[in-house]
């Protein structure tokens, strides 16, 4: 039958050709104006714009909901605020399963950028362009490939190096497998991360100009390289000399600050201060522009809870607005300076009671948390609180609160640490609210932040070096470095004119010895220096401290009893398993899930 039809159609064809001389076949070739094919990646412009995409992809990793939850929630520092408590699958409750939405942020946003970095590294050598510019592009591609992999390994353990076309190769095949069951994969992952970061330390531009934008510079690569060595040293695939290598990488930055364009600031308060986003202590930030949602890739900056919107300014805020009344009145409106009270993350008592036990000599508590809210309306005028007056004060201790109350003259509401919100203590939804991410240049209080998100700081390099030294058996080296930070922490602008008091406080802060130099001490110092900066969860998981610290310090009703060793890794997302063509999905999942 088919043959007959073919004959008929052939007959038809010849018949038609006889009749119509002109052919329109040329018109059947597609020549699109706006559609770019993968050939574009082999042009100088294509390489350049690919690298931009690599930078921009990091916005998913720092600031959005999923990023904040996977890196902060359910640690010793942070548990769920009253509004975060409702989600049963939240990372903070250790009720995690593969359907959790937060884990999709690191998982879904990494591999396409890794593939793109592979493409850049693969294609760049054959592209005709300025050699120096090309060298930087290749170094940036290595830097970001390692960076994306590093984030994945911290959260999920071993992940594929072969995306479908071989290890480290740009994949253009519609590959439906999941190359996770490769022997020694985690080891290979760490090797790639360390090799790539090492390449970046050698080939990236050296010095960030004062107040310059955050391209990837050598200092950032050294910082991440040090951390990669350190984490590998803690891992099951540790190599001899990892801690020494971590020390070397970190120490290089500490010793070459001027050459690399970095320095510790005098005042801890200035590091995260709004408007000071390009200071010398920061080695690398994921950038955004204040007040420019479109350039920050957010459409609806007030309501977009997905994508690249930086929610950090709203994520940590307590309910200053309509929960704690002053004689029945609510003196604080939702206003730009206090951010949106999203109440997702609330500090554990361990953080404000233990880690920040000293709130006097150590300036960092005051510079980390908002504990005072001023009235923004006259609702509580009957209680003597008018706009601009102090409305709420979260006092440092119960004793301090009691003494204030005893005065009987304070019109504002005094709330002491025994009253701060906890899941077990739900009546008052107020707690010290992290203020590092304040952004007052937003249009409305609900808006997401337009501030860059700090990733690498010189201070963390000090702490990494100190930790590496301890693990390498040289507590004395650690002590020197830790003292630098602790001395700086005593500084407050208000003490600049009182050198005696400052010196006293510095002395208290630096009154530590070699015997204090333990990993536990460093971990607490990290909380004081770095709390809330999207570091803590991997910090605990990669050091295998998660279960111990969460059980002892996390005050969420669910997290402490539930957390187990297998929680050191996140589950592989269900969407990944569903999209894979192997019906036996269980063997790809992390154990325990």
């Amino acid at each position: 039958m088919k043959k007959i039809f073919s004959k008929i159609t052939v007959a038809m064809l010849s018949f038609s050709i006889l009749l119509f001389v002109n052919s329109c076949q040329k018109k059947l070739i597609e020549k699109p104006f706006t559609v770019f094919t993968t050939d574009y990646l082999k042009t100088p412009a294509g390489l350049q714009t690919s690298v931009v995409a690599l930078y921009s992809g990091m916005r998913y990793m720092y600031g959005p909901n999923g990023a904040l939850n996977t890196t902060n929630s359910g640690t010793d520092e942070w548990s769920l605020g009253d509004q975060g408590a409702s989600s049963g699958l939240d990372c903070g409750a250790y009720n995690l399963n593969s359907s959790n939405g937060d884990i999709l942020t690191p998982w879904n946003r990494s591999f396409n950028n890794i593939n793109l970095a592979n493409a850049v590294i693969e294609f760049a050598p054959d592209v005709q362009m300025d050699a120096a510019a090309k060298a930087t592009i290749i170094a940036e591609a290595h830097f970001f490939r390692a960076f994306y992999y590093f984030i994945l390994v911290q959260q999920f353990g071993a992940v594929p190096l072969d995306l479908g076309s071989g290890d480290f190769a740009f994949n253009q095949k519609p590959f439906q497998g999941f190359n996770r069951l490769v022997p020694d994969l985690l080891k290979k992952n760490y090797q790639l991360i360390i090799d790539d970061f090492t390449y970046a330390t050698q080939n990236l531009p050296t010095k960030r100009p004062a107040n310059g934008g955050f391209y990837a510079y050598k200092s950032a690569a050294y910082h991440l390289l040090a951390k990669a060595y350190l984490f590998r040293g803690y891992s099951s695939v540790k190599q001899t000399g990892d801690f020494k290598s971590a020390w070397d990488a970190a120490k290089y930055v500490i010793d070459n600050q001027a050459a690399l364009g970095t320095a510790l600031l005098t005042d801890y308060a200035d590091i995260h201060k709004e408007g000071n986003d390009y200071n010398a202590e920061i080695l690398y930030s994921v950038e955004r522009i204040q007040g420019s949602p479109f350039d920050n890739e957010t459409n609806d900056v007030s309501n977009e809870f997905s994508g690249k919107a930086n929610m950090s300014c709203n994520w940590y805020n307590a309910n200053y607005q309509n929960n704690v009344s002053i004689n029945g009145a609510f003196p604080c409106d939702r206003v730009i300076q206090y951010m949106r009270p999203l109440r997702q993350l609330c500090p554990n008592p361990w953080l404000y009671d233990s880690a920040f036990a000293d709130k006097i000599n150590d300036s960092r508590y005051d510079n980390t948390f908002r504990v005072v809210w001023l009235a923004t309306n006259n609702n509580a005028a009957a209680s003597g609180i008018n706009t601009g007056d102090t409305a709420y004060y979260l006092v440092p201790s119960k004793a301090y609160g009691d003494s204030l109350r005893a005065l009987g003259t304070k019109k504002y509401r005094i709330i002491d640490p025994t009253q701060f919100y906890l899941v077990s203590r739900p009546a008052i939804q107020l707690y010290p609210s992290l203020k590092k991410y304040d952004d007052t240049k937003r249009a409305v209080p609900n808006d997401a932040s337009g501030r860059p998100y700090v990733v690498s700081k010189l201070s963390e390099v000090y702490l990494l070096a100190a930790e590496a030294a301890i693990l390498d058996g040289r507590p004395g080296d650690a002590l020197t470095l830790v003292k630098v930070l602790r001395k700086r922490a005593a500084y407050r602008a208000s003490l600049a004119s009182n050198p005696t008091l400052l010196a006293q406080r510095e002395a208290v802060m630096t009154n530590i010895t070699n015997s204090d130099m333990t990993v536990d001490f460093i971990m607490t110092e990290r909380s004081r220096e770095l709390c809330g900066e999207s570091l803590r969860w991997p910090d605990l998981a990669c050091r295998n401290l998660l279960v111990e610290y969460v059980k002892n310090r996390n005050r969420n009703l669910v997290a402490a009893p539930k957390v187990q060793t297998f929680h050191n890794l996140r589950p592989i997302p269900q969407s990944q398993l569903n999209a894979m063509n192997d019906p036996d999905k269980a063997k790809y999942q992390n154990p325990g899930y």
């Binding site: 002109n22 076949q25 253009q172 439906q176 950038e287 977009e304 409305v444």
Partner: protein
Amino acid sequence: MPNKKFTLPFFRRIMVNAVALSAALLLQFLFFTQTLSAQDLTVKGKVTGDAGAPIAGASVILKGTDKGTTTDAAGNFSISAPKGAVLIISAISYTTKEVRITSAAVSVQLELADKSLGEVVVVGYGTQRKKDVTGAVVSVGEKALREVPVANLQQALQGRAAGLEVQRVGTKPGAGAVIRIRGERTISGSNDPLIILDGIPYEGGTLNDINPDEVASVDILKDASATAIYGSRGSNGVILITTKKGKPGEAKLSYNGYYGITKVSRRYDVFNAQEYVAMRDLGNNASAPYMAEELVARTKGVSTDWQDLMYQNGFVTDHNLSVSGGSTGGSTFSLGGGYYKETTVLPGQDFGRFTLRATIDTKVGKKLKVGLNTMNSLSLTNGSQFNNPMFPIVTLSPLMAPYDSAGNIILSPTGNTTDRVSQYSPLFLKNNNGQWIDKVRRLRTFNTLYAEYQIITGLKYRLNVGLDYRQQENDQFQKSDKALFPSYFRPKKGNTASVNNAEGWGYTLENILTYDKTIGKHKFTVTGLYSFQEDHSHNTSVSKDSIDEDFIQFYNLGQANASNSSKPVVSGSEVFYALESYMMRVNYGFNDKYLVTLTGRIDGSSRLAPGNKYKQYPAASFGWNISNEKFMQKFTFLDNLKLRFGFGQTSNQSVRPYESLGLVSPYNYNGYSSPSVPGGTIRYNYGPTTIVTGYNLVTLPNANLDWEYTKTINAGLDFSFLNSRITGSFEWYKSKTNKILYGIVLPVTSGVNGEYTTNIGDMENKGLEFTISTVNVKLNNGFTWSTDLNLFGNRNKLLKLTDGFTQNIPRQLFLGHPLSAIYDYNKLGIWQLNEAAEAARFGNQPGDIKLEDVNGDGKIDPNNDQKIIGSGQAKIQGGLTNRFTFKGFDFSFVMYARFGGLLVSQLHQPFANYTNLTDGVRNAIKTNYWTPTNPTNDFPIANFTSRLRPITTDGSTLGYYDASFIKMRSINLGYTFTPAVLSKLRMQNFRAYIAIQNPFVLYSPYMQIGGVDPEATGTGNQGIQNPGNLSSRALTIGLSTPPTRSFNVGFNVTF
């Protein structure tokens, strides 16, 4: 494409002739004068039809001349003619008769044509007598199309033809509908049938552009043997639309129009104040305490019904005026204009359409016939883009008063603080006052020109030229919020506006050769075609906020603050495609008994990769007119019995232009942002001033992309009994589609975030269709009762996925199940108090949703406990029309029904629309929720979404209901004035009618539980959070303008 040297003068000649002729014709009809020759008789006559009733408007033509006239309302005519001449008398629905003039008085009785047999069916690139048709073709005539007063053709076709499924996808004015012929054959491509308007493909457009009043008939080609002539576009069936043409005879002026009032037919059932308090006290009260105003309202017993305050009456009106006529020489014309406007029950939503049309057909000499048809429409839709205030109307607190003591609208009457920032009172919408513009303006001009030349007897060449241009502008503006002049759409924000301009144009050239030959009992028709079609479209879209002054609106987006936060977002796109085709068809008939149709087509498309462009489509079909056999002659009650059988292959063009090329794009591929959305582009900044754009790989190239091919076999039986009092047909078909295309969702570890479109998988559709028309009662006093009934069922099944999946969850594809399968947890009920211990084992508490533990392992998990819980596929559906006539009265009602299948009510899925959260933060759709004292199994405890549960997506199981319904679509009562009255009024015809559209729903399980309408309001996820198991093709019910009913009064007048 014809050669240029030939084309230009040829066209020019035709054009000049056409223009000259039409001008002459118009003049002739406008100043109609008749001259008498001395030797002629003045012949007076009367034309009657069945039972001696006069036939108005019959054409009377003097044979061999172009002289002629038409009968008046009483059937009388007068013409001057020489004795012995022959008059040709014809009228619609009657057989034409020739009468020789023997005296000055002539009386002619015409016989009703045997409609089902004499009827001509449009079959694509030509027409056929219905009795010669061998494929599965169904026709919907003018009468049926006109029966229900509707906005568009889709609605007119709903329930009118077996195998044709029309499902509404919106309740706002101007909303479209989804048309499916015999089910679905593609997953990722379009399942829309090919639409051919007067022979030319009607591309890139909505049927809303067509004024249903301009359509004379719609023919639907269903099986492959009928659609193979359209080759690569035939798979989804073909709808051939024929517009009205003039008829020879005196020019006629017709007016058809109606006006109607629209009212809400069913409101959303929400909690009243008392029920709201009860629900809220159970809900998440701690984090959303009552507002101070609410506490006061509670003591005063306030209960605000926001629906009452917002709904108003809408109207619908339609006016069509046309002039048509023609000379006896074969030149005809038809000119018309129409105006349609529809508003609805919510402020700011309406749809209006202006149409203009002209058709001219004329002969040039004896052998050449030329014609031009131009259809132009301008439509304006308001309120279709962002104006959907249903959410506040349904969820605002009934404890909040709408107006303050001074009678002013309360700015933000929400029952919680969170919404105060962003939700203003919807009452502001009742007075636009420059607040917003939400307008879509669409212009379309669709023109066809043809020339038909008879080369020798039986051999005709026809050139069809189609020229199509469409332009659409979407304008949006939302004014800035000011203290004394609030802006509903921009609370606490500045203004914003956007303009999207899209245009498309294309042409079609068709060269058709037809050869008819009869040798003895053998009858042949051979049709050959070469055609070429090209289509271009392009759009530019700009949006901007911080416009200097609100009164600028969207008219100049340059008069705006150009600061960082309010940069204009500019985007655009371009699409081109072309199709080159060769087709040949042979129809052969032997003695009117045995019929054969053979078809072959070759299509070459720009969308496929080079080397892969040309594809072949063969088909064959056979017919046997059993009733023409000798042995059947004794069955005198039988008028016609025909068996048909056909098979063939077609495909659909579901590869999108450029899809085979792969894509590197600057757009964020995160399923949220899109090119036209602010922030949708990959950007980065180095420092606060250096802003750059990034590109990433989105989709992979695939040079092997191919169409989806459907092989169909079809068997049909047509019957007609008792002088056509009973006519109808059965169809059985089975089709298999292979090389199904779909976008594979690759694991993200492949490094590609976009889908990979490829040919993969097979699917099957099979079904039965039954159509019957009966004249049930026909009395001598003129009373008749006739019925049209169609019933059909289609079974769709996915047979194979070649990538190793038995179920592809991201794409919601399941082997052995229909495409519309719904995969989710199975809700068994609600955990009751006495089941607390068992519930606890699953991590649940009494009041939670009880899900089925499918694998019985004692825990509910996403891998093992989700299953197919049903599908959207109807078991059987159909339409029923009953008509009664008595004297001048006619009465009819039209019903439409679907049985079986599950619908997805996103209204009832807590996280879809937030209309069923019952967490105490907002009001909600009223549901029978569980409490310790109300141990229902319907809905869980009010605050269940804030409880800790192992499966947090369990709320989606609350949205599945039986989709069955029987709807009364319209009830119509008309009266046609008697000829006596008409002649006094100097009219040829005058019918007045009243009609109720969508009067009531006879049966719907969904409405029994509180749904407002069992028909979909859209496709895919309409909610805020996607439950994840809804493909973009799923028909879903979201929160939309409530269903309405309209009461219409109308007139059809012909002068």
